[in-house]
């Protein structure tokens, strides 16, 4: 079926089967491979993207369901030269090792800021990370990164 997807501020006309998942269209059709598939059973969060600013699992959403919404992927956050404050915080806090889970972790961090504001506690972040799995870090530095990234967004917005 023909669909138009608004991704990172740009409209893309896509012809894909109705059964295409959003993550499949992002990665395979459009080459936006920053969004990852870690489990395909809706549990790991590597595939998180923002839909009108709200974090969702792009492996559990049809691409067709995302029509009409503004989709933000990790490619749409910062540039290689100027990272988004949440990305920069992962770099500074050593919040990644292999990096496979990181795009989804960054999106989960932005979801926390959307719902709880920029002043997050480690306990809240650990609780809110229920839908993100990391096989490398042991989470401690991810929690530190999200707390710091959220705080940096307050200054960045001011």
């Amino acid at each position: 079926m023909d669909m138009t997807l608004n991704i990172n501020g740009q409209a893309h006309d896509v012809a894909a089967p109705a059964a295409s998942l959003l993550v499949e269209v992002l990665r395979d059709t459009l080459g936006l491979t920053g969004t990852h598939i870690g489990c395909d059973t809706s549990q790991c969060g590597a595939c998180h993207v923002l839909l009108d600013g709200v974090a969702v699992k792009s492996c559990t959403l049809l691409a067709a369901q995302a029509q009409g919404a503004a989709i933000t992927t990790i490619e749409g956050l910062g540039t290689a030269e100027t990272l988004h404050p949440m990305q920069q915080a992962f770099r500074d806090a050593h919040g990644l090792q292999c990096g496979f889970c990181t795009p989804g972790m960054v999106m989960a961090g932005l979801e926390m800021v959307r719902r709880h504001g920029t002043r997050l506690t480690p306990a809240l972040v650990a609780h809110e990370l229920e839908g993100n799995l990391c096989r490398c870090t042991g989470y401690l530095n991810i929690v530190k990164a999200i707390v710091a990234g959220a705080a940096a967004m307050e200054t960045a917005d001011a």
Binding site: M1, T41, H48, A55, L61
Partner: protein
């Protein structure tokens, strides 16, 4: 996933007509049960009918009941069902934040997973389940594992929960799936109590002995293990024990 025709109706009539148009059809709400089932080919519908265009979301208090639209997402119930704090807390404990951003009340009630959370609230809060063609009482609606009173093609439009004086839900969550190994919803309706148990049996059920004991102020009962579920997570005796523990936790947390 096998391909299908995607239909995006703008009215209930168009949705039911599309359902009846031939082949195997399925309604799509939040997709957080259906899409995983389609990925693993447990479900292979020929037509998928997206309910997103039907304007079925929203929370409206109406005297003695809190009416919540079928397409209201778990996150919105968690944030908006302040008239029944126990129900809001239940919604806030479903899955993870991203599941709650997509999954809907109607999808959970229609699916009637024996370990799902909402069916316990619907039963304990004496809910009315309104559809495009009928109104079902929760007591008659849930008919065992993945089985409900819904006819083929019937669409849940909204659910009316009786607003209790106090209520609470306690769940022993499976640490990976987050569904209930056992969940107990207790509601104080002023002149009566309702206690509903999910996760423990082949479907959600009322625990009449517990209701009577609470009303009489007597000792809390033990649930017989005979008909309870047994799987790799918990055997029937352990589930029976957990029912008692969750009952006490819910009673201690009434709001």
């Amino acid at each position: 996933m096998r391909d299908f025709d995607l239909v995006r109706p703008a009215s209930l009539a168009a949705a039911t007509a599309a359902f009846a148009a031939g082949g195997e059809a399925a309604y799509l709400a939040g997709g957080h049960t259906l899409i995983p089932a389609m990925k693993s080919r447990l479900r292979m519908p020929d037509a998928l009918i997206d309910l997103a265009g039907l304007d079925l979301a929203g929370i409206v208090p109406d005297g003695k009941r809190l009416w919540i639209g079928a397409m209201t997402r778990h996150a919105d119930v968690a944030g908006g069902a302040s008239a029944i704090p126990g129900l809001a807390a239940l919604a806030g404990g479903i899955g993870d934040p991203q599941v709650r951003n997509r999954g809907t009340l109607g999808g959970s009630i229609a699916n009637n997973d024996p370990a799902a959370d909402y069916p316990a609230a619907a039963l304990a809060l004496d809910a009315l389940i309104e559809t495009d063609r009928a109104t079902h009482k929760a007591d008659d609606f849930f008919q065992g594992m993945f089985t409900t009173a819904l006819a083929d093609g019937e669409i849940i439009t909204r659910i009316g929960f009786a607003i209790p004086q106090r209520s609470a839900y306690a769940k022993f969550r499976h640490p990976a799936s987050r569904y209930a190994v056992v969940g107990v919803y207790v509601a104080d309706h002023g002149n009566s109590w309702r206690v509903a148990v999910t996760g423990a049996g082949p479907g959600v059920f009322r625990w009449a002995e517990a209701e009577a004991a609470i009303a009489a102020g007597g000792a809390l009962p033990t649930l017989p293990a005979d008909d309870l579920n047994s799987d790799i997570h918990a055997g029937p005796e352990y589930r029976a024990h957990l029912c008692g523990v969750m009952l006490k936790q819910a009673l201690a947390g009434l709001v």
